[in-house]
Symmetry: C2
Subunit: 339 residues, 2 copies
């Protein structure tokens, strides 16, 4: 049972008022011997102030809400770890919410978190969110006056604070490397069409090809969905189009390409080369370690917390887009084609 | 800005008392037309009761704390997903805490969660917890009168409610399968010695061997730590001992065996066979899909929530050990040795 002021007063043999004064550092008028007794009794009884009551008084709960798609996906698990580590370090707590990529659940969670009196929300937009839905979410956050940071998924024309990665550069790194390795028939397994981060990777790939004087219309696209199965189907489709290399726009879809290759007896990289994206899971334990564009996901989680805490403290709603830089991790899944 | 009763009263053109009565369903004496106006104004202003205040009144916050080692580990990410999905379905929220396997952080989190007024805690004991430390944690939870369920890691002689897996049976399934496949020189990469779940797997392996009239002293053990690196080192060590098969006591260490095999040019399963444990990650995308003992981790997460909610509601502290059954997933990483 949580100790109350009354319990401490009984043990210390003084009044509840005296206990309250001592524990709130207002005990100027109280003898030192009583003070000592109160503090000792409080310690013995494991007394800790009721933070729900404190939260009501201060109207701050030192709690952040994190809304993501699915924590069992390595990308979001790594992000969550970063968010939680930074929160813990700064003395904040984290309420975790998974939307399973449903816009409806996203809005429900915003209401719930507001009900809990959280001080700010870090949000990764649901996969199905188009421009209108994102605007709806941001409007709701503003209407409820909740400080918020959007992480990972990114919409240029929405005003807000975003922490993401320069995905145009990420696509460029993958495209440039494939061209340097002699690949001119490239297939891309993209993310959902409504997501800007997917379109940005495509822009980057095209820039890399144009720089080398290659025809960007030669690139084959398969519309994936960021899950393993769509990677598998994408590989099956692209293989019939004569591509020599596949760039999967996230790591799970690259794993789907591996799964398809295992099943079909296709060799990576001898028969087909693969580049993945994210680099948050097990790229290096694969039989042919996966060459990958790396996103600093853990760091993005930490940065989001730094920003949200600052916004909460300063009461300033910053509108900025902070982009981390991706990095190409060359391993063994791309072969060098001699022209 | 969150709407207050005063804002609704202004918009509806009535008193704050009337608003309060209507919103708390105590408006018998208030004309229907006023009721309608109040409800409409509340909706237009997006009014929602302040749950921090409600929590104080009811002394229940409908929030559960989940304390785990590390959410970026697939095992815990899957567990967390199960916990969050069940909580969401039942209308509860989740505060997530990572201990990074430090006992000290485990205790700090219990205090913090208690401060937040959470109603119950689901806890996975830190890897370094020996019997004394576990007892200390459980004593603290009891002293603070916090309903709690311990999930995954298991201590027989501690009183409490545990949700775990029958790891003796899991070890038995792995051992029996290896013997059936003709392996008599078996190496095991164990978990930390202080963990009962690791010792249980060993007991199961020994039972399987004894059933077949094999000498249990022929089994080679390498003391692992449940991380990839210790799997890699374990494989390197066991390979020098002439084993034909390695049983890694979790999935990450099995991945470590794969990494070692990749680096050393050793073929799985032609040169060495591997059985893993957990089956929460990417066992089936590996070049040689990993044969694995499967734990129903997601289901364990859901079950823990069902139990904790029941304990909170009934105020009964149940002391039980609920064991899920493991299952062997046969894939391609074990070869058949002809004797």
């Amino acid at each position: 049972m949580r100790a109350r002021l009354k319990d401490i007063a009984e043990r210390a043999g003084c009044s509840v008022t005296a206990v309250s004064l001592v524990l709130n550092n207002k005990a100027d008028s109280i003898p030192d011997s009583t003070k000592q007794k109160v503090l000792q009794a409080a310690e013995e009884l494991n007394y800790r102030p009721n933070q729900v009551a404190v939260g009501l008084k201060k109207s701050r709960t030192n709690t952040i809400g994190l809304i993501i798609s699915d924590v069992s996906n390595n990308f979001f698990a790594t992000l969550t770890k970063g968010v939680e580590d930074e929160s813990n370090q700064e003395g904040w707590n984290l309420i975790l919410c998974n939307t399973n990529d449903h816009h409806k659940r996203e809005k429900e969670y915003i209401y719930t978190l507001d009900d809990k009196g959280i001080d700010g929300i870090i949000l990764c937009l649901a996969k199905e969110d188009d421009f209108g839905k994102v605007q709806g979410t941001v409007d709701l956050l503003n209407q409820l006056n909740i400080p918020h940071v959007m992480v990972d998924r990114f919409v240029t024309d929405i005003e807000g604070y975003f922490v993401s990665v320069n995905h145009e550069e990420g696509g460029y790194l993958a495209g440039k490397y494939l061209v340097e390795m002699g690949h001119i028939n490239i297939g891309c397994i993209t993310g959902p069409k409504n997501l800007e981060d997917s379109r940005d990777r495509t822009r980057g790939v095209c820039r890399a090809l144009e720089e080398q004087g290659l025809d960007i219309e030669s690139v084959r696209f398969y519309p994936g969905n960021y899950d393993i199965e769509s990677g598998e189907m994408g590989a099956e489709f692209l293989a019939t189009k004569g591509v020599t290399a596949i760039f999967a726009y996230n790591e799970l879809m690259a794993y789907g390409v591996y799964r398809w290759a295992n099943k079909s007896g296709v060799r990576i990289p001898e028969d087909i080369s693969v580049v993945g994206y994210d680099d948050v899971a097990f790229a290096d334990i694969l039989h042919v370690p996966l060459t990958c564009v790396r996103q600093p996901v853990y760091e993005m989680g930490r940065e989001s917390v730094r920003q949200i805490i600052q916004m909460i403290k300063t009461k300033e709603r910053k509108k900025e887009k902070v982009l981390f830089q991706p990095k190409l991790m060359v391993r063994g899944s791309v072969s060098h084609i001699k022209l």
